[in-house]
């Protein structure tokens, strides 16, 4: 799997976790579970470390996509981008091939990750 793609997936997942830590519904469930969330500082730190390992030009694109769509990486399921539902090229139907390089959706421009 492409190393940068893996980092982008991890970065988006971390961003998603940070949003969830702040959400009321998630907090309610965590409280019901008897769990206490100790703030998101450690997540922010992990995020910073991860960001530093991504080339600036790609990171900048990630931020632009996040700003525009709220998601910069789109999962590919059943040969479709799960964010804009466009079909990906036939030669990329195998996930090992798809995830080998950093690719963007031809329609929405998001980075593609074959689940």
């Amino acid at each position: 799997m492409n190393e940068i793609l893996q980092k982008l997936v991890m970065l988006q997942d971390l961003d998603c976790m940070i949003v969830e830590v702040k959400s009321k519904d998630a907090k309610k469930v965590q409280k019901k579970m008897g769990l206490e969330i100790k703030g998101d500082e450690k997540l922010q730190n992990a995020r910073k470390v991860l960001e530093r390992s991504i080339p600036p030009s790609i990171l900048s694109r990630y931020h632009k996509l996040m700003e525009r769509y709220g998601k910069a990486v789109a999962p590919v399921v059943n040969n479709s981008c799960m964010c804009c539902f466009v079909t990906v090229p036939k030669r990329l139907t195998i996930r090992e091939v798809g995830n080998k390089e950093l690719r963007n959706c031809e329609r929405c421009g998001r980075f593609l990750y074959w689940v």
Binding site: L14, V29, K32, P75, V77, Y113, V115
Partner: protein, 152 residues
Amino acid sequence: MKQSDLLNYFHKDLFIPELRALSKDGVLKEMAAWLESQKKVYKTSIIYDLLKNREKLGSTGIGGGIAIPHCRSIAVEKLTVLFAIKSKGIDFKSTDKKSVKLFFMVAAPPQDVNYLVFLGKLVEVLTDKKIKKMLLKVKSFEEFKNIVSGVK
């Protein structure tokens, strides 16, 4: 969500009868690797790192010998639950400091609307004293299913 609906998310191939890991990180790694071996995730490290980051917010050991490590990730296609047993128990830094024997790893894609509902119901069932007592003696997936479905 009803108690019996929980079982729709459990599958025999997502059950580890005895974990080999001897540490908290080891448990997370072994369980994440199991998800990869069952083709539920493409890369172990994505889920493993995310679960480790979740644990930094506070342990997901809910007490009474049970832990529910959980996360949302685009690396999974749908809500996935992996149930694992460590019969000798392991220090998971739980709220009650007791060792953990039962692990329920829950991973869902970011857009999954059932994720929080599922977690809430799972906790409700697992914290029922009668059910918990029976679950802590479980050795097989069938036994687990019978207890949760109310057969036993």
